[in-house]
């Protein structure tokens, strides 16, 4: 007979707690089947990743891909904290952070030997992240508008600034708390207005002119709330998200790529050094043409494999990446903090 006393229960609890604290249980579980941890943004992104990349990977390898939800700054911080044993095996990154990871030598080189499907991805998109990753999906930061209240939308950034300054409509633009704002707004508008990485004065001058007719969005859903509640009529936003809202029933919303070219907002995939080699197989699935077609159909975003044939629905929606303004990510990364500081002092939110 075995007596179950308070002391034995407390003792067992302590051992279990210590096991959980030291990560003993996950390791124990991991020893039973081959598993990797991949990354995805939340919401429809997660669904698309599971359907288009995780499912074929698991079918082909018999291994399991656990999906870690979050955002690039968080994942990069996790890899930085433990580069010898990275907690994620595949990184989904914004190009500027992908470059940070590449510079810090935290990620592996991408080669056709490891990734046969890389041969079908334009070289520029791999070069843009120093060859240590590649862009597999992209959105365009352009002009989204309510076609019921704005029958003649601004066709260019120039016209956008001019008409918002005159108070013709209220515009919603991303706030500086949104990670991509330095690229999709500051750089894109500065370039369109005659400046560039070395001169963002035209952007800040434009913002000063528009300030009485601007509202700011801190997160993408915030923009849609502002548009649907009538707080804003027009704004700087992504094509894919606009079409997602349209497909969900907001048929009053529309998007156009400004004449100067909206900024390309790419999503790069990378493999941390010391990550499970099985990650290469998963990344190869990400770069596969058929998987990307399915992904594009769900996400309404452009993809980069040259063999991809978009569905009829997407043909009129996707802007070829060559017609976007391709951001010089490396140069932007050097001055980004100065831009943020200037925004804080001059615009303030």
């Amino acid at each position: 007979m075995r007596n179950l006393t308070r002391r034995s229960i407390l003792g067992a609890g302590t051992v279990m707690g210590a096991g959980l604290l030291t990560g003993g249980f996950p390791r124990f579980a991991g020893a039973q089947a081959k598993e990797i941890t991949v990354t995805a943004f939340g919401g429809v992104w997660e669904e698309a990743v599971r359907t288009c990349f995780v499912a074929p990977f698991e079918q082909k390898t018999g291994a399991k891909a656990n999906v870690s939800l979050g955002g690039p700054p968080q994942w990069l911080a996790q890899v930085e904290a433990d580069p010898q044993d990275p907690p994620v095996d595949v990184l989904i990154m914004t190009p500027d952070l992908a470059l940070s990871a590449a510079k810090a030598d935290l990620v592996d080189d991408f080669t056709v030997a490891n990734l046969p499907n890389l041969a079908k991805t334009p070289q520029e998109l791999t070069d843009s992240v120093a060859g240590k990753g590649t862009i597999f999906d992209y959105g365009v930061g352009g002009i989204t508008f309510n076609k019921e209240t704005v029958s003649q939308p601004p066709k260019s950034f120039h016209e956008f600034v001019d008409r918002v300054s005159k108070g013709e409509f209220v515009a919603s633009v991303p706030s500086i708390s949104y990670a991509v704002t330095p690229i999709m707004l500051i750089w894109a508008m500065a370039k369109a207005l005659g400046g560039g990485v070395d001169n963002v004065d035209p952007f800040f001058e434009a913002m000063a002119k528009m300030k009485d007719n601007l509202v700011f969005w801190g997160a993408p859903n915030d923009f849609f709330n502002q548009m649907s509640s009538g707080e804003a009529d027009v704004g700087i936003y992504f094509d894919g998200r606009t079409w997602n809202h349209y497909d969900s029933g907001a048929t009053w919303i529309d998007f156009l790529n400004p004449e100067e070219g909206g900024s390309l907002n790419g999503v790069a995939v990378q493999k941390p050094k010391n990550a499970d080699p099985l990650a290469w197989t998963y990344i190869n699935e990400i770069l596969d043409a058929r998987n990307q077609e399915k992904f594009a159909d769900i996400m309404n975003y452009g993809v980069t494999n040259t063999d991809v044939k978009y569905s009829e629905k997407l043909n009129g929606r996707i802007t070829p990446w060559q017609k976007t303004a391709f951001p010089p990510y490396e140069e932007i990364a050097k001055v980004r903090n100065d831009w943020v500081d200037r925004w804080n002092r001059e615009i303030g939110r």
Binding site: M1, L21, S100, I176, A179, P182, V215, G348
Partner: protein, 289 residues
């Protein structure tokens, strides 16, 4: 087959009280040590280390404490929290007084109505403010189209006023509940004695009820101030042009990835919170609560 029984444990000789107390607080102490004290210490260390060279530096604190821009942000953070606390008190005290002295059998309903907003997500509540006060929202629609009082809709969202109103909406129940619990404990005979001795109702309230409820005001003020001091979601969504330390910390992490600066800012936010807590406790104690 192993048989499990749960016998009554033999009564053991009582351990000294201090020893038993150590066992009782050990889980909480360990939890705080691992998930609060050690991360906080790591955060503090990070704020003093130059990431490029690994050398000790005070540069971040020097920038934060001498640059007028950052000083203004700290001022806005404290002013916002203090403003929300004062408004919550002004709104909350009469509600608490009504609840204890007048609501009678309706008190349960009043308490439910009071805490009902806390049952929904803060994001939903904040979006609710946008829907109500948007340029083409309910309020502007009423003023412009239904009542014809205005020709153009007012710009109500993205303003400091709406941000404060949204924070007060979330935090005023905490103030009310803190004051209510203290008001319930006040002996009504003390107030009656004051009135028998000639004090009118206002003087009775001012010289008897209010001083006796200072403890509740202090608790409510500390709760509201602390939460407002670290509030983030409401400020991100409603903004209103306010720049506060929590927003700047998020920006340092999310946009610039300057973790050292974010750590220094968070340490300063912590010091501000502790200083304000100490000040409020001193004021409440000095008033005799």
């Amino acid at each position: 087959m192993t048989e499990f029984t749960l016998p009554i444990a033999p009564r053991r000789r009582a351990r000294p009280l201090a020893m038993r107390s150590v066992y009782l607080i050990a889980p909480a102490a360990l939890f705080l040590l691992f998930f609060f004290v050690l991360p906080l210490a790591d955060n503090a260390m990070r704020s003093f280390v130059d990431e490029a060279t690994g050398a000790f530096t005070l540069a971040r604190y020097a920038a934060l404490l001498t640059d007028p821009f950052y000083l203004r942000i700290m001022g806005e953070t404290v002013l916002l929290s203090a403003g929300v606390t004062v408004i919550s008190l002004i709104i909350g005290y009469p509600v608490a007084y009504f609840l204890v002295r007048k609501a009678g059998r309706w008190s349960a309903l009043v308490i439910f109505l009071l805490i009902a907003p806390l049952l929904t997500s803060i994001i939903m509540r904040t979006f609710g403010w946008q829907v109500l006060f948007a340029r083409k929202g309910l309020v502007n629609n009423l003023l412009v189209n239904q009542l014809g009082l205005l020709e153009q809709p007012l710009r109500l969202t993205n303003s400091v006023e709406i941000t404060i109103a949204a924070l007060v909406h979330v935090l005023v129940p905490l103030m009310v509940l803190s004051i209510t619990s203290v008001l319930q404990g006040i002996d009504r005979r003390l107030e009656e004695s004051a009135q028998i001795l000639g004090a009118n109702r206002l003087r009775t309230f001012w010289e008897v009820t209010l001083p006796l409820s200072l403890d509740g005001i202090g608790t409510g003020a500390i709760l509201v101030f602390m939460i407002a001091n670290g509030s983030f979601v409401t400020l991100v969504l409603l903004g209103g042009g306010l720049q506060t330390l929590p927003l700047m910390i998020y920006q340092q992490f999310n946009t610039t990835r300057d973790f050292g600066m974010a750590s220094a800012m968070s340490m300063i936010l912590l010091v501000i919170a502790i200083a304000c807590l100490w000040l409020q406790l001193r004021i409440v104690r000095r008033r005799g609560a």
